[in-house]
Amino acid sequence: MKISSSQMFRNFNKWCLGLATALFMTGTFNSHAQGGDLFKAKCATCHQVFKDGTGPKLYQVRTKWEEGGAKEGSIIQWVQNWEVAAANDPYALQVSKVKASAMNAFPTLTEEQVISILDWVDEQEETVATASIARGAAASDVEEESSLGWVWIIIGAMFVVIILSVGGVRRQLKNAEAEASGSEFDASMSYSDEFKLWAWKNRKYVGLGGLIVVVSIVVTLFLGLYSIGVVEGYQPSQPINYPHSVHAGEAGIDCRYCHNSVTESKSAGIPSVNVCMNCHKQIAGTGEQVAEIQKIYDAAGWDPEAGVYTGKTQPIVWNKVHVLPDHVYFNHRQHVNVGGVDCKQCHGDMTQQMETAMVMPVEELNKIEGNVTLSKPTMTMGWCIECHHEKEVAMGPLYKEGGSEYYNEIHRRLMSGDKSLYSQYLEDGKVTVEELGGWECAKCHY
């Protein structure tokens, strides 16, 4: 066996470290590090230290067996081959019925190795999940914000009342003054008469002001009409506070794992709960996550305490975010498979999305590298049309061998027929979706 000098140095280091540990824990030393490695390699697939998973928790499992009346050494035999142990020890036989799924046999593990694993497990210390204080703070923030609106309304109402009562007092004072001076005050003159008189006196300013008011009302009205059907920034509330940043960002899960029908179907798909459970069967979260993840467990019918499915399921009612009217046809498969469009072109960088999903404003989408820059609001027809006008089909599989037959056929016809059309298309250096019929009404409306 060849050992390079660096390897030797590392081995020497390890040896030194081992010696130091041995000096510290004279007598009780055995290779616990090996136990940890073995645990991770062999046991961790099914067993956790402090929590029941596929298999029961292993912390203090030897004490548990002893107290249960198991024969000595029976647990070692169990790890090596549980069927043998179950045949020899009534307690082991009883244990074999605890979990529905049978444990694997590990005949290659020696007795020392099993002991080192169990030693390592018993040495672990449980990290207590600290209750998050941040959540309380965040909640009170939200409350303050909503109550702030009411404060403004009340202040406004108070001002209106003050102005009206001051006006009334002023009028009464005027009346009193007129009475005192003896001159006749026209009591029949109402507020509106007074206002008319005042307006006539200052007709220049009133006219100008009136014009400004009318123009601004008209402009606001039109802007309001333009905003009908524009859903940019639409972020409906969701039953579960799901952060895409944790899943797609930190955990590195591909979009297509959860939205797996995106390459097969018109709709990208909301993952069914069993897809959530692929990971969350093990990940119960800490702090404020616990309550959110419990909602998945309720939906899937998973009892995290017992570690079994109960069969009592209930649906999660998500709110749809990207809603297209029925008179528009949109197909994810066509865009992702054939067009080669990346998810972030339309949905933005979800690895940074810490809140629930929303319709990304076009300004945000334009900031992302590699996106076609667009000017119209997201999810409007102008936005679609603009992209079809800009997007080069060559970026998709138009020229790819074995690519979409649809575009290959169009390409063949372009090449075999009148070349002038093709060269006309290529004037701006690219063949766009529009030039291949991406602007035809019936493509999206029928």
């Binding site: 046991c43 309304i153 009908i228 639409y234 930190e250 797996n260 069993n274 899937a300 074995g402």
Partner: protein
């Protein structure tokens, strides 16, 4: 008297303004006004559409109910006329073990009392590897895409069990494929299809053909020579065994 009325009137206006302004908060779950609501929601059934209100009629029983449905039990989609393709896609012939009811929530399945995982060791990959070198390359490229979409966040791009989920410490206990070289094709398929231990069933995400492709790709990860014509693996042989199987 008249003055009192005026003050009362002023107060009434102020109160009305307060109420009107107060009701001006937008519903965060509404996407806003629609120009032509009757063109927004049609009676045609589509997934993820709430059919509680179609045009002007309201259906109380349909409100907030599922519109994306699972197909009826036992229905088989049409897979075309290519016999190999059809054989690949027809329902998996092995039922899950009865334990999967509690461990993987398979309450709607027909389950088996036998140890079907052990029995699955007899199954061979029914998908022949292409003999042509370019076709083989693109076959494994396809397998790589499938693997990286569906597996690598836990199992790691190289299959060493060091995916992002593991590296960030979110998940624990993913094995290294290098330690699983004696695992048979059939058992790999069974584990992906029905799940195993902490791993969930992936049959709802990827179809049988894709799973067998992934099984080939995992073999390739374990042995970089897998599938190349000069090594022992003979794709012809694999195909023959499959025919016997069915």
């Amino acid at each position: 008297m008249k003055m009192k009325f005026r003050i009362l009137g002023g107060l009434a206006i102020a109160a009305a303004t307060t109420v009107i302004l107060g009701s001006c908060t937008a519903d965060p779950d509404s996407a806003g006004l629609e120009y032509m609501p009757d063109m927004y929601r049609s009676p045609a059934i589509e997934p993820y559409v709430d059919y509680g209100q179609v045009r002007e009629t309201e259906n109380v029983d349909m409100k907030m109910s599922l519109s994306a449905m699972t197909p009826p039990f036992g229905s088989v989609p049409y897979y075309g006329t290519d016999s190999l393709e059809v054989a690949l896609m027809l329902p998996y012939h092995r039922k899950a073990n009865i334990a999967f009811r509690q461990t993987h929530g398979m309450f709607d399945d027909e389950l088996s009392l036998d140890d079907t995982y052990k029995m699955a060791a007899a199954d061979n990959n029914p998908m022949p590897l292409p003999t042509d070198e370019d076709a083989l390359k693109s076959f494994f490229a396809n397998g790589k895409v499938l693997f990286e979409n569906n597996c690598s966040h836990c199992h790691g791009v190289k299959g060493n069990g060091q995916g992002e989920m593991m590296v960030t410490g979110k998940f624990a206990g993913v094995p290294d494929y290098a330690n699983l070289t004696d695992l048979s094709d059939g058992q790999m398929f069974y584990s992906i299809y029905y799940g195993k231990g902490s791993m969930g069933a992936h049959r709802s995400i990827i179809n049988k053909k894709e799973i067998w492709t992934i099984v080939h790709y995992i073999k390739k990860l374990q042995d970089s020579d897998y599938g190349s014509p000069n090594t022992g693996v003979d794709s012809q042989e694999v195909a023959e065994v499959t025919e016997d199987d069915q």
